[in-house]
């Protein structure tokens, strides 16, 4: 579905991504792990075209998107939930979703499906998004990404600040999205959350992918966990 080959990204004079190779197979959920500052967010932003790769190639769905503008990448079928959620606080929940749906009102049935996971959105439908709580904003950010079916979903640390109950519905949501053959790239620090969800795992460090493998392997192999995630697992639990 999406492949990154030897991607380098510079931000100003800083060389952040130093040759990222990553393949996201169709319909699978890939988890991207790594310690703080490893370059996970930068990877997602490079995919979205918010930073442009200075070297290497990104191919999505058969076409090269290395130099494509962000808006066109989005229209090609990639949805993005940024780390800071990027909700429009001056707009209502409804208006946020209208913009995300791109053409016209969001589909009714799909909305009901989303309300199933995130009932708060229904409750605050006509309220300015800025007045939502942090967790509710996160729900809105995710809802915006899935309000229309997209081919690929990029999600940056969705569990930040969410209550366990909501995390549970998030897991359900991702399961159902997978069932609809949506390809997902999920950046996460909370290993327990992604343990049951992920098909495969990529681990980043210092702007490179240092490990790729099936989730089952990492999930069972404690030594490998220790080696790859080591302290970062303890500090983030």
């Amino acid at each position: 579905m999406l492949s990154l080959t030897g991607v380098h990204t510079h931000i100003g004079q800083y060389h952040i991504l130093q040759g990222v190779d990553l393949v996201l197979p169709h319909g699978e959920l890939t988890v991207l792990l790594g310690r703080n500052g490893a370059g996970k967010t930068t990877t997602l932003r490079t995919i979205m075209g918010l930073w442009h790769a200075s070297r290497g190639a990104l191919v999505f769905d058969g076409s090269d998107i290395t130099q494509t503008a962000t808006a066109d990448i989005a229209c090609a079928g990639i949805a993005y939930v940024p780390e800071n959620m990027g909700i429009f606080s001056d707009l209502t929940v409804h208006e946020n979703l209208v913009l995300a749906a791109r053409d016209g009102e969001p589909d009714k049935a799909r909305l009901e499906w989303i309300f199933g996971f995130f009932p708060a959105l229904k409750k605050f439908w006509n309220q300015a998004a800025g007045t939502l709580s942090g967790g509710q904003k996160q729900m809105l950010a995710i809802a915006r990404a899935i309000v229309e079916p997209r081919k690929l979903l990029l999600v940056d640390e969705p569990t930040k600040g969410l209550a366990p109950a909501i995390i549970q519905s998030l897991i359900t949501a991702f399961r159902e999205l997978k069932a609809m053959e949506t390809t997902i790239l999920l950046v996460e620090q909370n290993f327990n959350f992604v343990r049951s969800l992920g098909d495969s795992v990529a681990v980043m460090d210092d702007g490179r992918i240092v490990h790729v493998g099936p989730m089952a392997e990492l999930s069972e192999n404690l030594d490998l966990q220790q080696k790859l995630l080591g302290l970062s697992l303890d500090t983030h639990q």
Binding site: F88, A128, T131
Partner: protein, 340 residues
């Protein structure tokens, strides 16, 4: 991007956004405070309406500027050029059509005025489009160069006005039916000021509707807050930006026509002279906020009119004092725009 810090801040600040009425109350409070100082009720009404009329015109000119800044972080120091060009373009219609202008018929007067405004808006809109292509694009994202280059653009535009229309001031008489005053008992109100207030209210209402009820409006407001996310949702922010820039230039042109008629005299420098109150207005309102710009324009104009009556010597300095006191109260302006 600084992420966590700003979003944490936003959490505590944003919920007040919609319910923030304190700035709205400033206007009536100011007007009421001025009443005993002015002393006479009819004078007070005249001053207040004069202030509102002036405020409406400044708002029309400033609104585009503040939106462009909010959306793309571009501040056009040459915005005043559109004001002058708009006013001078209007003379192309108004001077040959003096027959209609001086006819004793509101309809003919308004038609001539309408035609002039239409032409001015078209020309300044087109000019804005060209200005954006030639002047702004190359310096996008570089504030220092932006200031310099847009200043340079304004110098060139002003000089071109001299080249085309000659070096002299051009007198622009008001249409017959908008000259003079209306009397309501003791209260005298200049007719043209009422017209200016009406046009200003129409523009404000139209902008309000577009920004709140249309998708383009939603996109503009979303873009002011977080243009990257608008892109990531699949919209080309550039097109939006060009549209807003053109609309803002056209509004400046409209403001120029209104202002020119108000002063009944056109000078090429009228636009750059107006930049000072315009900047004060958008600073007071909060850079990027249209509502703030409206309130700011009214405040500035009312204060200028009251001060002009009470203490003429400090009339222009009064704006600075107003700005300083507002900024001491709210350092980001009346309606701070939430930014990423």
């Amino acid at each position: 991007m600084t992420t966590t810090a700003t979003s944490a801040l936003a959490d505590s600040e944003l919920p007040r956004l919609r319910l923030d009425v304190a700035p709205l109350l400033l206007l009536p409070i100011l007007a009421l405070l001025a009443l005993p100082l002015v002393g006479s009720f009819p004078t007070w009404v005249t001053l207040t309406i004069a202030g509102l009329a002036m405020g409406m015109m400044i708002f029309i000119m400033a609104s585009g500027l503040t939106l462009v800044f909010g959306l793309m972080d571009v501040l056009n120091f040459g915005h005043g050029a559109f004001v002058s060009v708009g006013a001078f373009t209007a003379t192309l219609v108004l001077l040959p059509m003096q027959g209609w202008m001086q006819a004793d018929s509101v309809l003919l007067n308004l038609s001539a005025l309408g035609l002039a405004i239409a032409l001015a808006v078209l020309v300044t809109g087109a000019l804005g489009w060209a200005f954006e292509r030639v002047i702004i694009i190359p310096v996008y994202g570089q504030h220092l160069k932006q200031i310099l280059i847009t200043m340079g653009g304004m110098i060139v535009a002003e000089q071109m006005i001299h080249v085309i229309w000659g070096p002299d001031q051009i007198p622009l008489p008001l249409p017959a039916s908008f000259r003079g005053v209306l009397l309501f008992g003791d209260v005298a109100v200049e007719k043209y000021r009422l017209l200016a207030v009406a046009v200003g209210l129409i523009v404000f209402a139209a902008m309000f509707l577009v920004l709140n009820r249309t998708k383009v409006g939603l996109l503009i407001r979303a873009g002011v807050e977080n243009s990257e996310m608008v892109e990531a949702l699949g919209y080309r922010i550039r097109r939006l930006f060009v549209g807003v820039f053109v609309a803002g230039s056209a509004l400046a042109g409209l403001g120029g026509v209104l202002w020119g008629l108000y002063r009944e005299m056109l000078t090429a420098a009228m636009g750059s002279d107006l930049m000072v109150p315009v900047f004060i207005v958008i600073i007071i309102g909060g850079l990027g906020s249209v509502g703030g710009c409206f309130i700011g324009a009214m405040l500035v104009a009312l204060v200028a009119n009251y001060a002009g009556f009470l203490a003429p010597k400090i009339a222009l300095v009064s704006n600075i004092l107003l700005m300083v006191s507002i900024l001491l109260w709210r350092p980001q302006g009346l309606f701070p725009v939430a930014k990423r």
